[in-house]
Amino acid sequence: MSRYRMQRLGFALLTLISLVVVAPILAVIGIILVEGMGAISWEFITAMPFDGMKQGGIFPALVGTLLLTLGTAVVAIPIGVGGTIYLAEYARDTLVTRCIRLAIVNLAGIPSIVYGLFGLGMFVLFLRMGTSILAGALTLAIMTLPVIISTAEESLRSVPTEFRTVSASLGGTRWQGIRYIILPQALPGIITGIILGLLRAAGETAPILFTVAAFFLPRLPQSPFDPTMALPYHLYVISTQVPGMPIHIQHGTALVLLALVLSMNLFATIIRSYFRRRRQW
């Protein structure tokens, strides 16, 4: 076979593989869109569920997920970014920091149900927070931290060392170099990591199962110590735990969750490209 035909064959094969990868994703989105569109209405988004969740809307679950994601962000972003700056810019390479790095890498691979059980033991029971938004957000934050830290560290390390040297040579303290040069350069990467982590937090069921999520609670939480409904768990409940649930409600709920996650993703992409464009040195 000629080299040219080999190449054509190679391209064809690769295209096929790409299609195989993308097709299921498109199929999932397509089915959810087609089946779920019918359920979406202003009422569906803003009303309390009733009649065993077979009627009404998903308002408390949507609000719950937004609050949980916000809580996760409030806890995870400062700790994650601050910790990473310490690890990447200040900490010397010692046994302790190596252990911390190893722990972070491994934490990223732990199944989310384990975080859920940890949250139950640590926050709900031991620290007596009860099943509450606080306990749920803390659990989600712990799950999110490794993602934030590893991507942020990667971005900080990709900023050329020379900038640190130049900044120091001009009388900059280490913090000034970080504040004025390193962080602005690393920001797009850091933001990407944050959003990826929060996306995961918004969509997970296992970590909130025992720590915050309510099966059926048709009112909004009044304080961080209240439990709340949340979209992923609600979806799980109406898909598997309630007999006779109309299928368009399931698809509609899935569609809202999907839209939430995709719009966060889009937001991340926009922020990132905005900072990229400003970067250029």
Binding site: S169, L170, G171, T173, Y180, R279, W281
Partner: protein, 252 residues
């Protein structure tokens, strides 16, 4: 003799256990151009980076001896390092503009030092760019990105960036090594005018350049200071055989 601006006293230095400077002693007079030259790996860069304590950033090093600037031991624990580095400016072998505009680059050090007075900043901006022979070329694009400048312009920008802090001492580590001959010429010319106001130590990128600009010259070989004398003397009548071999190009 005038009191030495910089007094390097029996300095030895190691990265890990690898000693790259051995018992180096030399005095540098104020308002002069001193050249450190010799083959790569001789320890010239290291010695320069000891004078503004930039090698503090490197971990796992050892140092013996003292370095005095204006009679003050700069490795004394009471020294405020950012202040020292403002007094001892440095320009690196490769032009390393910071992210941002020409103006931001020149004024970066002053921003860190907390200088806010607009008219003073503008004044220093023009003054340092003029001193580094760049003003005419960039005065209409002060707010353009620094990376858009040519390599030679970037390097003069880096010189201006150091000058903006009004240092007494300027350390230049092969500042023209990445430049074409015309840019090199411009940078060298700007250096000549500088020595009236600054104590300059420069690692040249060629012996010709060393001979052109040196008031005094120090020849380094494998971490040892082989010979230190007036430039006119060292390049025409070197006393040590090793120096002669290197200067006449028979080194190797």
């Amino acid at each position: 003799m005038v009191e030495a601006k910089i007094h390097i006293d029996k300095v030895s230095y190691a990265y890990g256990e690898n000693w790259v400077l051995n018992d180096v002693t030399l005095d540098i007079a104020p308002n002069s151009v001193t050249v450190f030259f010799g083959p790569a790996g001789g320890g010239k860069t290291t010695l320069l980076r000891l004078i503004n304590r930039l090698n503090d950033l490197v971990e796992g090093t050892q140092m013996k001896g003292r370095i005095l600037v204006d009679g003050q031991d700069i490795y004394n624990s009471e020294i405020h390092i950012p202040t020292l580095r403002r007094r001892v400016g440095m320009v690196f072998a490769l032009p390393l503009p910071l992210p941002g505009t020409v103006r931001e680059n020149v004024l970066y050090g002053l921003k860190l030092a907390g200088v806010k007075d607009r008219s003073r900043l503008d004044e220093i901006l023009e003054q340092s760019l003029t001193q580094s022979a760049l003003w005419d070329e960039v005065k209409d694009r002060l707010d353009h990105l620094a990376v858009a400048l040519s390599g030679g312009q970037q390097q003069r920008l880096c010189i201006a960036r150091s000058l903006a802090l009004e240092p007494d001492i300027l350390l230049l580590d092969e500042p023209t090594s990445g430049l074409d001959p015309i840019s090199t010429r411009k940078v060298e010319d700007s250096l000549f005018t500088l020595k009236e106001h600054y104590t300059v130590i420069i690692v040249p990128h060629s012996i010709q350049q060393a001979a052109r600009i040196a008031d005094k010259a120090a020849f380094f070989l494998m971490g040892n200071l082989v010979e230190y004398a007036a430039g006119t003397e060292l390049f025409t009548r070197p006393r040590k055989k090793k120096t002669e071999e290197y200067v006449t190009g028979r080194f190797g």
